[in-house]
Subunit: 397 residues, 2 copies
């Protein structure tokens, strides 16, 4: 089955497992053909890897034939090198469809759907996805008037939730990288160091990886490291300012191995932390410990969130945000899987092999604190943390 | 006007210029309210900067009031720190709208549109955009049954085409970084070096930048550096393989200063290049020279493409792809502006201040060659190249 076994990250059996799961979910939803534009889902199903998701591309999944990779002509060269399907299942479209004001790539896709005899089929599309635009949808409606469209948002993402042993092995490699990155940050950060100079070192650790077989891939989110009052904002990146004494900086980072992510966040205080940050740290660590205890097979996503909330509420901290999400294979702009959310209203049952970033960031009015763990739901007992690094506020004088 | 002058990258007059241009384009298209979800357009209009575009957010542009920044509650903290509008024009939505299976953030946006008295207005939306999903569109249709929707794809992008002096100054800084990055690659690449180890150094140069005020920002595309037969595929990233003697590797890279990009590509051959690559190099350099000559105010986008094509065709090379796109402010997944394409069918008139990545990559059956220039259309004469580095195949023995 694999056409390029030296490049494919996973075994043929693993790709077969994924296809079987996806087809079963399609059948349950009454979908004849599934069009997958999410690059993470494309990679998970076929092995495709490349930074080409800024143009329309996708994978067509059928019940009775191998999937078709479809994309820009020039990217078909990358597809034949990375997917397990035979070359004839890779189809490119002409370059003048790209960012054209006159034509849309979905016209070409619709032609293929017609030609494969699915012009009147029930077609699943990922309605809520970065890469399936409103225009793509409207164009498909116009070009396939006989088809029925079914919202297949996250249909494949949900199949990705429980990780195989092969996937967990990749995440353990990502975790080794993440640990190295955190160690490097804590060692290097000091007053007067410019933020961008530290980010340069962070990227060095991320991408060098951890040994010959464990080369580092790019994480789907860049390092985030706001300080002081800016740490009230979770998604600021960096600039050329220096780290300052008397400020907390949180570091939101990840190791990535062949697109599999293990994020981890730690906070460093330069100087003597004020009481309110020490109190928040104590409550947060208690909440993390309680959440890890609750993260057992048979329990629910909300149980983790509720376990975390209790000590935080006692300390007078109201977060008002979810405290985690599933992780694994991902492409920008997010390293989450966009299925489960660790929050009070989410009743999803936890199963062995599920992996989450347990991420109870505190973004308060004029300070912030992030201490997080990437976790694996085990067969029994509380969750395992992928990284093994001191879970506390790091204080440097 | 600026609420945070120490953080805003541009003058109040520059933001006023941008708003005036956008409102004029809205009026011409009969748009009462414009909803802008493209993060590059959000930043260009308001100054907003943060890696929060993986959830729904946007800017509402009105004819008679300051824009509204709208996004996730926790990201409102970042917005008040980065936009020029007063804090009351920053509106957050509750966290349980995020990646929910029960509710959609556009329900919250529709409420705001109603409350500002625009429930029956003509609303412009970016139908073809990474961040405005099919589901977002369908939800807006449902929630605002009295409104008329107008496709405002790239309406703001087109206003960004001619750069101000302030913007060109940023791009010159990005160019200094890009030159440093290219120099580092050519100096370091050698047989036996692992690709990811070189990428670690590349990121170091990108992010350290070039001096105290010129810190490096993250480019919107990661470094691309396929070798040998893999160089036939334009968008492969890296792995832990080593560079090998007898192979060409192209390096697609950029410098980035405060989200403004200057891409540049060079190719390195380790060893003695075969004749077909030497012939391609000669034709490509002639084509680049001809394209730069054609890139004058009053000429058209297609003139650059046609000038390039002539020597390539003489050498028997058919590219079949556009040879460039506008550049400037950008967020992932693309550093292009997605308006003009340098290709035979594009009649866009070239104007002083326009900036392009003139990018005639050759991706052939079993090899690839990239030698490119980022260019500025001047008031008179041929285009200026932002970078000043030898334009040729680099050969290392």
């Amino acid at each position: 089955m694999p056409a390029a076994p030296d490049i494919l990250p996973f075994s043929a059996a693993e790709y077969a497992r994924r296809l079987t799961l996806t087809r079963a979910a399609m059948a349950e939803a009454g979908i004849d053909v599934l069009f997958v534009e999410d690059p993470s889902n494309m990679a998970w199903l076929t092995g495709y890897d490349g930074w080409s998701f800024y143009v329309h591309q996708g994978v067509l999944v059928f019940h009775d034939h191998d999937p078709i990779w479809w994309g820009r002509n020039q990217d078909a060269n990358g597809a034949v090198r990375t997917v397990w399907m035979p070359d004839e299942r890779v189809i490119g479209y002409a370059d003048n469809f790209v960012q054209s004001t006159e034509r849309h790539p979905m016209q070409d896709l619709a032609r293929i759907i017609h030609e494969t005899g699915h012009g009147n089929a029930r077609i699943g599309v990922e309605m809520e996805n970065y890469y399936f635009s409103a225009k793509a949808y409207v164009t498909m409606l116009q070009e396939l008037p006989g088809a029925q469209f079914v919202d297949a948002t996250a249909l494949v993402n949900w199949q990705r939730g429980v990780k195989s042993d092969e996937e967990i092995a990749f995440m353990r490699r990502a975790a080794r990288i993440a640990e190295k990155v955190v160690d490097g940050v804590i060692e290097r950060v000091e007053p007067g160091l410019r933020k961008n100079d530290l980010v340069a070192e962070i990227y060095g650790d991320i991408i060098r990886g951890d040994g010959a077989d464990c080369w580092g891939d790019y994480p789907s989110i860049v390092p985030l490291l706001p300080s002081g009052t800016d740490a009230s904002a979770p998604h600021l990146t960096w600039n050329g300012d220096t780290f300052k004494k008397g400020e907390a900086t949180f570091f939101e980072l990840a190791g990535c191995y062949r697109r599999y992510h293990v994020p981890v966040c730690r906070t460093v205080f330069l100087g003597d932390p004020p009481d309110h940050i020490r109190r928040a740290e104590a409550a947060l660590l208690e909440g993390l410990e309680a959440g890890l205890e609750a993260a057992r097979p048979g329990r629910r996503a909300c149980d983790i969130a509720n376990a975390l909330a209790e000590p935080l509420e006692r300390a007078g901290i109201e977060r008002g945000a979810r405290c985690g999400y599933p992780i694994g294979l991902s492409y920008p702009p997010d390293w989450g899987e966009r299925t489960v959310s660790l929050r009070a209203e989410d009743q999803t049952e936890l199963k062995p092999g599920m992996t989450f970033h347990f991420m109870p960031g505190l973004w308060m009015n004029d300070w912030g604190l992030e201490i997080t763990e990437s976790i694996l739901i085990r067969d029994h007992g509380p969750a395992e943390t992928f990284c093994n690094r001191p879970r506390r506020l790091h204080v440097k004088a």
